[in-house]
Symmetry: C2
Subunit: 430 residues, 2 copies
Amino acid sequence: MAENYVEMWKSIGMDIEKHNELLNILGQYYGAVYLTQKNRPKAMGYFDLVVSEIHGLRIKELNDSRKAGKKVIGAFCIYAPEELAYAADATMVGLCGGADFSVPDAEAILPRNLCPLIKSFYGFKLNKTCPYFQSSDLVVGETTCEGKKKVYELLNELIPTYVLEVPHKPDTRQGKEFWYKELEAFKAKLEEVTGNKITAEKLKESIELINNKRKALKRLSDLRANNPSPISGLDALLIYQISFNDDVKRFITKVNELCDELDERVRKGEGVTAKDAPRVMISGCPMAIPNWKVHSITQAAGASVVVEESCVGTRYFTNLVEPKGDSLNDLLWAMVEKYSQIPCACFTPNDARIKSVTDLAKQFEAEGVIYYTLQNCHDYNVEGVKVDRALKTLGLPMLKIETDYTMGDSEQIKTRIEAFLEIIQAKRKS
Amino acid sequence: MAENYVEMWKSIGMDIEKHNELLNILGQYYGAVYLTQKNRPKAMGYFDLVVSEIHGLRIKELNDSRKAGKKVIGAFCIYAPEELAYAADATMVGLCGGADFSVPDAEAILPRNLCPLIKSFYGFKLNKTCPYFQSSDLVVGETTCEGKKKVYELLNELIPTYVLEVPHKPDTRQGKEFWYKELEAFKAKLEEVTGNKITAEKLKESIELINNKRKALKRLSDLRANNPSPISGLDALLIYQISFNDDVKRFITKVNELCDELDERVRKGEGVTAKDAPRVMISGCPMAIPNWKVHSITQAAGASVVVEESCVGTRYFTNLVEPKGDSLNDLLWAMVEKYSQIPCACFTPNDARIKSVTDLAKQFEAEGVIYYTLQNCHDYNVEGVKVDRALKTLGLPMLKIETDYTMGDSEQIKTRIEAFLEIIQAKRKS
């Protein structure tokens, strides 16, 4: 791929040599983790192609659209209101932040005891190896965690970064009114950056578009409640990850085609794992591409990962934006309500997340939960206390894993997960 | 002291045995750090007495006032609007959170890689050795940092805890309107808890009272700009710490008496350190009583700590609440403006703090800055990047120290501070 895109990469200011290193690492890692899986659905071929072209063809599409006057808005969080971006005729893309590759570059400036995702994204902008950063006209950040919030200030020195403030008490009237005004201010910013007016008609259309993306992902997720699951946790995770980068309409079509195939598998009782594989939920911090560490260790240990209670998972697609009317005011208020329902651990208290974890455990017949925390993420780390208690009331064991993007602790995590699966097996017999 | 207060401590549910351990440790530590200082102002005698009675006489005063119907509101942060508490005829007190003593108790539940202040306060409530917690009718928290925010949820299970949401973008209209509404909601909560109506007259009075406390502390602080400083950094820090616990009116009188004595010292050119002692600013995280670690090491190394850019320092008393009229609306808006000027690192961006650090460095003729971060405090840790840059433009060296409440790293910190003071000395000669 590298040969065909070098000129394009140069034109967006990438560090070609360093980027080649990254592509080599990613290619090998993807091959080892994904292409060794057995019995994958045929329709995964499309998503394999997307990954292989994620720094190539997709970047070409984005930059072709930029030449035609479209703007690209980079984002990190499902609190970034993508409906507004599309209503301004812009494209929203997820930025790089899931690889250890860029962490050492970030650590030359940032404290080391910071979340790996934050160090990763800042390093990717510093070292110029993320083509999504290099193709973005604006970055939209949010105040969902203090590490990101403070690093956005430094990121803004490298690329224009607009920060939306997310209220942290989810249920107060003043908090919702504040969030409404933050959405209005972001709308004005997008209109300024794109030169396009966000009308009620445009916003209604984009709400429908993004709702359709969420519906397709929920359809995929719900299919995994079957036993055996017709698709692996790794493959589902990959699709959730790609949802932040691929062309939205094409992506919806391809996810639905995959679901058609999975429907057929379910009808036949076919799955990717043994029917008696332990069913595990993973709950916690987001896993940005190519963060496949815990899923791959869990699968290799013989478990079936059946659901991710995560921003790269159910938190993204569980609720839709459901307007009560067609005015801009109605549409924005529907967005306020929808986004207030995302149970981010930045909320206090975050009872909706506790309910979501227990509801999902029941729906997916999970036999245990791996609680996944990125290192130094206080919000998810502390909230684990309450999640653990709630799972205990259901009689479900929880394994807490706090880790970064390096592979140094893989063997230790493997040992802990194997012991955890033994606990699940023992509970079955008792 | 213990003999006289045991019955009182029992009556507020304290763990007497464990508390005796704590008192022994604190007494010895205070003696070693404070009473060994030479040439202290005579008026420090009052503050020594306050410390010796901080779990005794002061707790008796609070509980006598509770018997007479007054409520006590516990707080952790200078964002807790004390003017409202006093206007509701309540007393606001700072809660324990500065000692390693309670950290192991907290770590039985909380993650270990959390800020020591947070673990300390949660542990103090768990182990029932903080008489301020035990005497509080309500705790008021705030969303200034995510670790505190999430632990308040757990604290609320042990003692009623009300959380105020502080907007993090300090300069937006919607943020200020939101903060106004949060103050209104807290006012209603206080009226409910105390049974007292907060009138404009009462609020005006309490604003004046707290302004007078801030003025007295600023008078003390400004005196330290003299060379040599008439009071040690340790003694000044102690007074700032005590300001959260002592009776407000008495405290104001005693601070002003001390300042009268310091005025006299300044007139005579007397100070507590050699005139050529390196002048050091400490900037960063708050230091709750008995957190004297970095000050005592810095003083012992021969430096004069002349100012603390800290919430237990200048951030508390630099600005006053200055109403433009007498209505409740005027008074609350004046509070919104004042609190928005506290340059907490939770703000993004926090340009006011960068300006404050450089302004203070000039006012106090600091020759170097020790940047103090509590372990795992992302806000202050990351903001250190910008503070360092700003100080470089003034040609001032900065030493970053990230530490907890244990003494395990004291020798290492001592070595680093000594080397830092040598840099300052070398700069003088060059």
